[in-house]
Amino acid sequence: MSTFSNLLHRSYLEVPDKVSIVLQHAGEADQEITYRQLILGANQYALSYAREELKPGEVVLLILQHGQDLTFAFWGAILHGVIPAIMPFLSEKLSPERYRADLASLISITKPSAIITSAEFEEEARSALVPGDSIRKIIVTNTIETQSEPDFESLPGMKAMPDDIVILQHSSGTTGLQKGVALSHKAVLNQLEAYSKAINLDAEKDVIVSWLPLYHDMGLISCFLMPVLLRVPVIEMSPFDWVRAPYKLMQSVSQYKGTLSWLPNFAYNFCANKIRERNLEDVDLSSWRAIINCSEPVHAESHKLFVEKFEKFGLRPNTLQTSYAMAENVFGVTQSLLEAGPTVDEIDRESFMKNRVATPPITGQPSMKILSSGRLLDNTKIRIINENGEDIPDRLIGEIMLQSNCMLTGYYNRPDATESVLRNGWYITGDIGYLADGELYVSGRKKDMIIVGGKNIYPQDLETLTSEVPGVHPGRTVAFGMYDEEAGTEEVVIIAEVDSEEASEQEVIADAIRKHVTKSSAIALRHVKVVGEKWIVKTSSGKIARSANKEKFIGELKS
């Protein structure tokens, strides 16, 4: 069994001049990084970590934007044997105070020893520190050691064992940042073995093109760890640039003859709706062999929009694929068969809603189409269970549980959270779905997580923030997601009870909620509904039931 550091070492010896990563930044020339350059750059960071007396096994937080420093700082951590956790960068949307508070709370649980950041962010990072916390060093990218030939014999990361934790992976928000998914070398490499087989990955022929951020599992695993460790070239553009110019993804695929990309569902709608054809002159997408939809619910309609838009630029319809993935399994759980593409299952709507069973459509009755997430990876098993925890047969809808040789070691320093998701060695996903003919169909979620553009959002975080707004009854707020067909993703709805029945005053409070929640969570809200007393539905035990309130809200929207 190998480790990340062994694989890097081998690449350094065997393919030093092969291009590993091409970094793209708007307005700048593309930057090619060969394996030799990657490891020389990583070594500078490894030496800096040693200089700062960081010990193998300690956690380092990387707060860096897309680019060379992030790349080198990450792989430097691997060479030094410290555990990197990539944090999202402070955005304009988020208030610095909240960023600091979230960072401080992450530090209090994860207990990292150092923060690696740029000079411009150093002060911000410092302001999140409190006396007695675990941070001993803030390492600024302009103070790192100069380049030298790596001495693999003395690099502590070379002594890592396959079961050692190699990375931490956080999702967003206050709740998400307090749960770092800890993954071992072995888990990640087992995942890469199974996943690369499912997509017939070929280091000689494939080129991955990505705009995904690396603080998210989809970007980190499929478009960073997998290509670098398995020697597949990857073209990485900045997510910041992509969102302002989504056509750059197509231009990069065309320019570099890209073969593989991963996108969250909303990106299909975003590209189809917002790219102008004038930006696609001479673009040829025929090299793309798979574009894999994952990290939020997949929709056939989004695929259709994408194909209609890009077919004339050489996109082949059978390129569009799906995968069901999660950080707790490193990444992929399933993958659609690339030759055949994902199946669409048309089922009777009423049986699905009322009887929780996916049966063939009945003539004259409303039906619905569910896009398959594909087949299980070789190393992963799943079970679908009912409310009593019993296994149920094909086509019955229940909760998805999984087991594999690439599961999380645990949520870092959170045995309580780990225990609540593991049952007899099975991971309880909280997602709802069914199996049919060996394909998995994910049809909903048991947990109330909202997923916007592939980003997981805990509604309780948003409800807490809403309660902080003056005029809102603390604890009498509810947040949920609602699928928006045009955007191809969920939009956030917040409902808050207030004293005032007056419309103008309610509008002022609604505005204040939008501002406060957005600034504190970096989530844009689509609907904020301010209501009078007793609007919010509670269960008999006095708890706010998000699904019941969602139904009521949708009912009022329609009427």
């Binding site: 302002r244 750059k248 609907h527």
Partner: protein, 82 residues
């Protein structure tokens, strides 16, 4: 002319981007640095300006340094229409 552009842009942002048709947006109210318009909607605004006024805003200009409120955006449009 300027007030007309401002009110057209304000209406577009309130209705199409924020989905709050009654929301009033002041000419000097910050749009980008405040997070009012999130990055996913910046393109919508650029495309609307292009379709309505025939003025191109490049993707590298979609940031608070180029314009952050309606007055500044209107100035940018006017300067490019000449």
């Amino acid at each position: 002319m300027t007030t007309e552009i401002i009110s057209t842009l304000a209406k577009f942002i309130a209705e199409k981007i924020l989905k709050q048709p009654n929301k009033e947006i002041k000419p000097d109210e910050s749009l980008i640095s405040s997070g009012l318009i999130d990055s996913f909607s910046l393109m919508d605004l650029a495309l609307f300006v292009e379709d309505t006024y025939g003025v191109r805003i490049e993707d590298t200009e979609l940031n608070a340094q180029t314009f952050d409120n309606l007055s500044q955006l209107t100035e940018l449009i006017a300067s490019r229409q000449k």
